[in-house]
C-alpha cells in the first residue's frame, strides 16, 4: 500500500524568500509522484510530476521538485515566492503495480506568503 506524508501543515514565508515543502512517501513498488496546488475556493491544478528519467522536475510557476529514491522524498521548492503562491499544496503518489490510476494524497501544506 502507498501513503504520503506532508510533515508541515502550514508554512508561512515572506515574499521573495525561498520555500521548500516536504513530501515523503512509502511504497513497496515503483511510483509516480505529483504535486498539485489548490488556490482558495478552486479545484486542484497539476504543478509538476515525476514519472521517470531526470530526478529534478520543473513545473509551472517556477516550482521544481527532486525525486530522491533512497530517502523516498519528493520535496517541492521555489527560489522566490510571490503573494500569488499562497495556496494549499498536495503531494500525491500512484503506483505502477495496479495498472489503475490510483492517486493517494498527503494531507496538504498551506503555504502563506507574507508581504
Amino acid at each position: 500500500a502507498q501513503s504520503v506524508t506532508q510533515l508541515d501543515s502550514q508554512v508561512p514565508v515572506f515574499e521573495e524568500a525561498p520555500v521548500e515543502l516536504r513530501c515523503n512517501y512509502s511504497s513497496s513498488v515503483s511510483v509516480y509522484l505529483f504535486w498539485y496546488v489548490q488556490y482558495p475556493n478552486q479545484g486542484l491544478q497539476l504543478l509538476l510530476k515525476y514519472l521517470s528519467g531526470s530526478t529534478l522536475v520543473k513545473g509551472i510557476n517556477g516550482f521544481e521538485a527532486e525525486f530522491n529514491k533512497s530517502q523516498t522524498s519528493f520535496h517541492l521548492r521555489k527560489p522566490s515566492v510571490h503573494i500569488s503562491d499562497t495556496a494549499e499544496y498536495f503531494c500525491a503518489v500512484s503506483d505502477l503495480e495496479t495498472g489503475a490510476n490510483n492517486l493517494f494524497f498527503g494531507t496538504g501544506t498551506r503555504l502563506t506568503v507574507i508581504p
Binding site: 478552486q42 486542484l44 494549499e88 495498472g99 489503475a100 490510476n101 492517486l103
Partner: protein
C-alpha cells in the same frame, strides 16, 4: 474550453434528501474519478470508472453510487444524505497510457448537509 466541469458548484440540502452532482470532461479521457475532500482538506478517492466499468470503490457507503451514461460523464448520486457527507467533491479524469496517471480535476462541488 473547460476541461473538467462539475455542476452545481454549491449544493445545500437537508438530511435525508437524495441529490446528484454532475461531471463532464471534454479531454477524450477514458477514466473518470470522484474524490471527497473533508473539512481538514484531506482528499480521498471514492470511485473511478474506466470504459463504463467501476474499477475502484474505496469503502464508500452504498448510499453513494456513480453513474456513467457515456465516457465523457460520471455523475455522483447520493441517497439519504447525512451530516457527515458535507464536504467538497471533486471529479477528475485521465487517459491510461497517455501521460500516465496525470489526472485533471474539476473545480469541485461544495456539499452542505443541514
Amino acid at each position: 474550453d473547460t476541461a473538467v466541469s462539475q455542476t452545481p458548484k454549491y449544493l445545500v440540502t437537508q438530511m435525508g434528501n437524495d441529490k446528484s452532482i454532475k461531471c463532464e470532461q471534454n479531454l477524450g479521457h477514458d477514466t473518470m474519478y470522484w474524490y471527497k475532500q473533508d473539512s481538514k482538506k484531506f482528499l480521498k478517492i471514492m470511485f473511478s470508472y474506466n470504459n463504463k466499468e467501476l474499477i475502484i470503490n474505496e469503502t464508500v457507503p452504498n448510499r453513494f453510487s456513480p453513474k456513467s451514461p457515456d465516457k465523457a460523464h460520471l455523475n455522483l448520486h447520493i441517497n439519504s444524505l447525512e451530516l457527515g457527507d458535507s464536504a467538497v467533491y471533486f471529479c477528475a479524469s485521465s487517459q491510461v497510457g497517455r501521460e500516465t496517471d496525470t489526472q485533471y480535476f474539476g473545480p469541485g462541488t461544495r456539499l452542505t448537509v443541514l
